[in-house]
């Protein structure tokens, strides 16, 4: 259950943004991605989640082990909290709805429409989807946006429990979650500069 990335290059809108990126994420560890806005954190995470192809390099992730959470929570406003989670539990073939509701402190809200939740509550529901997925490797894009301090602590505890249970997490975040297990990876040095990467980036680059 180890995620291995070697010499990866990713592109956004036809331009290579990151290159030469290598890291491994063993079970029980968390890796926090840092870097200024626009450096390519979201692009990297989307590439790892399989939503877009890598330009170069290799990504090795055990099959059916990754759960991805993007900026958007993918909630349906006209479903209740429990219905939203039950859908994803069915998609992932797990029955972990109750655990997830308990884990993200959503029990009292279970029969509320998702539309009536506050931004922070929505975010918690979005993150509860990770627990429901039962997947060991979490890939999270700005998970703590719109969470208050208490919820950030709750989330950190959830991540810690996940790591302790042998899971791993890759997070793009600016907030310090206070995870002792976490390493920090600054993406700034991997900004694409080399001529070579630009040459085979495909698209726009072929016309230069």
């Amino acid at each position: 259950m180890e995620m291995r990335v070697s010499d990866l290059a990713v592109q956004r809108g036809g331009i290579v943004v990151l290159e030469g990126l290598s890291f491994t994420l063993p079970p029980g560890r968390a890796l926090v991605l840092r870097g200024p806005n626009g450096v390519g954190k979201t692009t990297l995470l989307r590439t790892l989640a399989g939503l877009q192809p890598a330009v170069a390099g290799e990504v090795s992730i055990p099959a059916e082990s990754l759960a991805y959470a993007s900026h958007a929570d993918g909630l349906k406003a006209t479903l209740t909290v429990a219905e939203n989670l039950a859908f994803w539990a069915a998609v992932y073939g797990t029955g972990l709805v109750e655990d997830a509701l308990a884990g993200m402190n959503l029990r009292e809200l279970r029969n509320r429409w998702a539309a009536s939740l506050s931004a922070g509550q929505k975010r918690r529901l979005g993150l509860a989807r990770l627990l429901v997925s039962g997947r060991p490797i979490w890939v999270l894009d700005e998970p703590t946006v719109s969470l208050d301090a208490a919820s950030v602590a709750l989330f950190a505890a959830v991540v810690r429990a996940h790591l302790a249970a042998g899971g791993s997490a890759l997070l793009a975040t600016h907030i310090d979650l206070g995870l002792d297990e976490a390493e920090v990876l600054d993406l700034t040095p991997f900004r694409a500069t080399s001529r070579a990467a630009r040459q085979d980036a495909g698209f726009q680059e072929a016309f230069l």
Binding site: G14, Q204, A206, F207
Partner: protein, 242 residues
């Protein structure tokens, strides 16, 4: 040296730049010869009078319109299988030319139909098919225009072109089923019985060749423009990044 070398934009620009004047010149010559021969040096038809001469624009435009779609389909397949950028841009460049030829075929068909069938428009299967064909072209061009990212647009239009081709064929048979039509049989075929007579046939073939050459020249010009646009965009994108 493989033909795929020319999938490189630079090589394509060099080659097309050299070929283009010849193709354009040849197209002008052939068209002039075919049209002058067809319009002035052939006898009037005993039934249709001089109206028949619109055939020298109508039929070549129609055949060029269909060939344009074929070029788009092949270019789309090449793009999807081999990811050559020039191929996608050729498909993009061919579409408006194909649409124009389709419209020319429809309008000349109306001009021809008026004195012959007594109506500007008839829901004749071939005319109907060309009308539907024009809609396919419109949709394809609109999709190219609507999608911002050029690689996304190329992929989506490629898929649309393939699916659209299948449905265009289906529509053709559906329309034949729907109405048997007033159109005359094929103007050109290997079957001598069905052919229009030789007097008309030779200038018609020359005109068809002329329209195909014109199509080729226009596609080359448009593809070159597209490549230059993309190059400009790539340069600007790099500026922003630097």
């Amino acid at each position: 040296m493989s033909i795929w070398e020319y999938a490189n934009p630079k090589k394509f620009m060099a080659l097309s730049g050299r070929v283009l004047p010849w193709v354009a010149g040849l197209a002008a010559l052939t068209l002039a010869a075919g049209l002058v021969w067809g319009f002035f040096l052939t006898p009037d038809d005993y039934k249709q009078g001089s109206t028949v001469k619109i055939i020298y624009i109508h039929v070549p435009a129609a055949s060029a319109a269909i060939n344009a779609w074929a070029v788009m389909l092949i270019a789309s397949l090449v793009w999807i299988v081999r990811r050559h950028h020039v191929s996608a841009l050729v498909a993009k460049a061919a579409a408006p030319v194909g649409l124009t030829f389709t419209l020319i075929a429809l309008v000349t068909g109306a001009f021809w139909g008026q004195p012959m069938w007594g109506t500007w428009w008839a829901w004749d299967p071939r005319l109907t098919n060309f009308l539907i064909f024009a809609l396919f072209y419109l949709g394809y061009i609109a999709l190219w225009e609507a999608v911002e990212n050029p690689d996304t647009a190329a992929d989506l239009t490629g898929v649309l072109c393939i699916v659209g081709s299948v449905f265009a064929l289906l529509s053709r048979y559906a329309v034949l089923f729907w109405n048997q039509g007033l159109h005359q049989g094929a103007s050109l075929s290997m079957d001598a019985q069905e052919n229009v007579s030789d007097v008309y046939w030779i200038p018609l073939v020359i005109c068809i060749a002329g329209f195909e050459l014109l199509f080729l020249a226009l596609v080359l010009v448009r593809a070159r423009t597209e490549i230059r646009t993309r190059r400009a965009q790539a340069l600007m994108a790099r500026e922003r990044l630097a």
